[in-house]
Structures are given as structure tokens and as C-alpha cells.
Subunit: 207 residues, 2 copies
DNA sequence: TATAGATTTGACCAAACGGTCAAATGCCGC
DNA sequence: GCGGCATTTGACCGTTTGGTCAAATCTATA
């Protein structure tokens, strides 16, 4: 919320370490299954130290979820950079795939939060996300009117992109199990990205 | 496991009611966040009655997850019914979409279980699911060899189908928030299903 | 180095948790 | 209606949980 004087670097460092530990524990066990003791252990600090920086479990969870939101919005920004439909979609899908690969925990926490009915980020869904979708729907409809895309419903396209990209974070364990227990390496991941882009582009491009 | 004499209908009824309550509580709060007291309340029985039928929380959870597995396999079966690529994919995607609509809780529990690293269904991933994927990969490769599909990697196609269809269950709340808080009605859901089928078919069909 | 504020931590607490138990009740063939 | 078994349930238990507190320690500035 407030970073008024922006001085205490020790505070910043500790908060970062605690948030990182909390992120992984929340992602692995969900909000209800996570314990402050486990978070403290993973952060390498005594439990009361966490309460010194984050008064309650809910506040700590909120702080984690808000970081996830930031990452999401950064990736969302990449939709604007181009006026060309294919290029915009390619960039956007690529950005979401990279996000899933680099920050899988964020994606998992997002998914958990949504599945629980978004108790913490409901207002974000109703405001920022709704506006984001509305404005991008307009862009997609323009592309359709220009004959670039088939007459699809934009929202269902977004859902497909979100679902598919986030799947590579949320279901990383399932994917690894189907690959002899080894997670996708960088090369395989790039092939997946390319195939997703090509499939969706071919799928929605005007015939 | 065993239904030897298949007589006691009162037991069956109670187990069903408890499983249904457990399914919804586990889906909403995750394994760690769910409490036996909440499950008992939702089932309308005293807490010790649950332990009478399911000795521990983990066993109850296992029983719920095993039901989810059954639903998943039923939908999986619809992949075989046709030798034609388009028809098989259409049927399969439709079946998975219907499953997401009719049993959203199952899908959510599945997603939670996967995100936690599949502590309960790991063996299923390594055996049944791996075999299912291997055999269907062969079918898809055959279609590619016959020139029906573009030279894609079958697994990435399955991931896209699983992700997209399950998204309509897992993210139902997010979708509702983007539709003025109202869940998709039957008509909108059918439009979504049709668009997904058309997008994926166009996306993977040989050009 | 004196001191005020920030930070750390072991010990502790009330509440909630999963699970137990024995007594009470219901059910059904005889 | 009796006897044996399945089922129900209020009361209870040890442990774990989120959270507190006051004393101890560190840090920075003058």
C-alpha cells in the first residue's frame, strides 16, 4: 500500500523472502492447507517474524495474490503492441506461455483463487479484468469486420488462450508424468508454444 | 472396492450423500481447507457418522477422487467411437465440454489434485492415463500420415483440448464475473462448444 | 558509546482440528 | 416382542493451528 520513505532495505528483503516462501506453500497446499509454520520454515525465519511483517494469514495471502495480479497485467499489456491480428495474437500467446513457464506458482495461485470463487480478487474481476476484456473484444471485433478473422465470439477465444497457456503451469506435474516424469525441457516447451500459436491462428483466421 | 452382497441400501444412500457433500467442500476449499465438520454439516449428518462410513479424511478424499476418475474415463471413451478424425475430435471435445458443465466439481477436484502434485492419483497418471495417451497418440499420428491433420504433436493437441474444456468448469466463476455475474446459459454454452470445436478442427486440419 | 527505534524469537494461548468411544437408537428376521 | 446387528450421536481427547507477548538483540545516528 504505502512505501512512504522507501528506506528500510532490511524490511524489503525479509518481506520478499517471506512472500516467496508463502507463494510456494500457498501454491502447493492452497490457502486452507498452507500453515504459517510451513511458510516460516521455508522462509527460514521463526514464525512470529512473519506476523511482524504480515499481521494475519489472510493479509499475507492477499499480498501474494496481488503480486500475481501484477504479473498477469504485465502479460496482458502485450496485446496492444501491434495492429496486426496475427502478430498481436502471436505475441500475446507467447507472453502468456512465457509467464506460465517462468512463474508457474503465480498461475497456480490464480487458478486456486478462481476455483474458490475469487474471495480476494472479486473486485479485480469486476473492474480491471472486465474492462480489459471489453476493450480487447472491440479489437477482435474490428479484426473480424476487416475480414482478418472468422466471425468468432472474442471471449471464447480469450478463454481458450488463457486455459491453454495456464495449463502448462497448472498441470505441469501431469505433463511431466506423461513424459516419463521429466518436465518439458526448453526445446519441447518452445515446440508447444509454436504449435499452440499455429493451431489457434489457423483456427480463427478468416478462411 | 468390495460390494460383495450389495444389500444394504441405507449404507449406499448415506455414502452417496456424504460423498456428494465432500465433493463440494473439497472442490471449494481444497483438501487442506476442507473440514470434516463442514462436510458433515453439508451432508446433514453428525460428524462421527462420516467416520463411521469413511475412517479418515484422506480415505474420504480418495473415494471422492476415484469417482472423478470414473467420470474422466467415461468421457475419454468417446474418442474411439469413430474412425474419422473430425468426427472423433468433435465427439470427444463435446463430451469433455458436457462433463465440465454437468460435473464442474469433479473437474475442480481433479485440477486441485494435479496442482498439488497428484499425491493420490499418481499411479493412475503413470498407468491408465499414460496408456490412454499413448494409444490415442498413435491414432492421431495415423490421421497425420493419412493427410487428415497437419503434422502436429498429438500430446499438445490433447493438452489444448483438456485445458480449454476443463476451463469452463474450473473458471466458471471468472467467466460469470465477465458476464455480469451470471453463469453461461445453455445457449451460450453451446455456442462456446461449437466455437471450440470449429477453432480446433480448423487449427489442426490439413491445409 | 549512548540511545531510540527496528527487528528477532522462545514461550505461550485459545480455538479449531481430525478422530475416538460408548451409550443410545433403529432395523429386521425369528 | 425378542435378540442381534447396523447405525446414530453427544461428549470427549490429543494435536495442530493462527496468533500474541514481552524480553532480547540488532542497527543506525549523534
Amino acid at each position: 500500500m504505502d512505501e512512504s520513505i522507501a528506506k528500510p532495505s532490511i524490511r524489503e528483503g525479509n518481506e520478499r523472502a517471506i512472500l516467496a516462501a508463502a507463494e510456494s506453500v500457498f501454491a502447493e497446499h492452497g490457502f486452507g492447507g498452507a500453515t504459517m509454520a510451513a511458510i516460516a520454515a521455508r522462509a527460514g525465519v521463526p514464525k512470529p517474524n512473519i506476523h511482524y511483517y504480515f499481521p494475519t494469514k489472510q493479509r499475507l495471502y492477499r499480498a501474494v495474490v496481488e503480486r500475481v495480479l501484477t504479473a498477469w497485467l504485465d502479460a496482458a499489456g502485450s496485446f496492444d503492441t501491434s495492429a496486426d491480428a496475427s502478430e498481436a495474437l502471436t505475441t500475446y500467446i507467447g507472453a502468456k506461455m512465457d509467464l506460465a513457464r517462468e512463474m508457474p506458482l503465480s498461475s497456480q495461485i490464480w487458478a486456486s483463487e478462481i476455483m474458490r470463487g475469487a474471495p480476494v480478487i472479486q473486485d479485480f474481476l469486476d473492474t480491471t479484468l472486465t474492462q480489459w476484456v471489453r476493450s480487447r473484444e472491440r479489437v477482435v471485433r474490428k479484426w473480424i469486420a476487416e475480414g482478418k478473422l472468422r466471425p468468432i465470439e472474442p471471449k471464447f477465444l480469450f478463454y481458450m488462450i488463457w486455459a491453454t497457456t495456464q495449463h502448462y503451469a497448472n498441470a505441469a506435474h501431469e505433463i511431466a508424468s506423461l513424459e516419463n516424469g521429466r518436465p518439458l525441457d526448453d526445446e519441447a516447451f518452445e515446440r508447444a508454444k509454436r504449435q499452440i500459436v499455429e493451431t489457434i491462428l489457423s483456427g480463427v483466421a478468416a478462411s
